[in-house]
């Protein structure tokens, strides 16, 4: 999807250093965030939904199911790679604490699975559904 936006992970390595595409970082981040306690789902905007619908058509031709990147955007600047995760939360846990744990979980998953050290994990809580309860009692 975002193959041309591939980035060099470690600038200090010789040109043979490995490269991780933004869509891979997004997929790893999306998976980690959606599994964090208190998270109901990731929220997708109009632009992303359009892309998903297009992707669905493409998928028919190539016959694979790509990992979902919905709800995550990846950006790069002088500081490095950052991700922004849009969430809907369940009730029963303090939103600011759930968000903090998602930040940790995403940073850790991306570090482990891709080797990329994220400069920032931004969280946008777009919805809370108080009638649903978080499955964990620890929060």
């Amino acid at each position: 999807m975002a193959r041309k936006e591939a980035i060099v992970v470690d600038q200090s390595l010789p040109p043979a250093g490995w490269v991780v595409a933004d869509s891979v970082i997004a997929a790893v981040a999306a998976r980690a965030a959606s599994r964090a306690p208190g998270v109901l789902r990731l929220e997708t905007g109009v632009t992303e939904l359009l892309r998903q619908l297009g992707e669905r058509v493409r998928r028919r031709w190539i016959g694979i199911v790509p990992a979902s990147t919905a709800g995550v955007t990846v950006s790069r600047d002088d500081l490095g790679v950052s991700v922004r995760v849009s969430l809907a939360l369940a009730g029963g846990a303090r939103a600011v604490i759930v968000a903090e744990r998602v930040q940790q979980a995403v940073a850790e998953a991306v570090r482990t699975d891709t080797g990329v050290e994220l400069a920032a994990v931004e969280i946008a809580i777009l919805a809370i559904e108080p009638e649903t309860r978080a499955r964990v009692a620890v929060l």
Binding site: G45, V46, L49, G91, V96, I123, I125
Partner: protein, 186 residues
Amino acid sequence: MAVNQATEDYLLPCARRLEDIWERVDAGVPPVDEHERTCPHCTTARESLVLLHSATRQLADEPLTPPAGLTGRIMAAVRADIRRATMIPLPAPRGGVQISEQAIAVVLRFATDRVPGVRARRCTVRQLPGAPPGVVAVDMSLALQYGTGPAAQVMAAVRAAVLAAADEAIGVRIADCTLTVEDVFL
């Protein structure tokens, strides 16, 4: 008198129903009134819906059935974009956490509805200018049931429920909480 809104309906910040706009877009009907032509919330919603409508048309024209629950996903996507427009920062230790004002409002309305004899109506949340992150002002309108008890007591209970919910469920402090009783019901 209906005091309960169906949970499936989504109200725009201007109190119009998103579903109504979708129905008109789907039927190819232009905006019905001056409000819908000029309101920033309505026009933003309409633009997004028109875009999605043409995309789903293309998809429907293909020999491929549209994904199940597509309308629901369209509504959720438009809702997400609208909510993204009004974000306020939360006091997270490492920063970088924002919440939509409407997500906070949903939690506060839910807390209010749990006070016996009270139904929350509109609720707006905004960040206080110049205040640190996580300090907000709340305006909420209510409907009260006849015979619930002295209004002062009921309002104190609502205020306590709202303040507690803001702290426990979200992590914000309410510096200013204005309650307006708009209606009574039997």
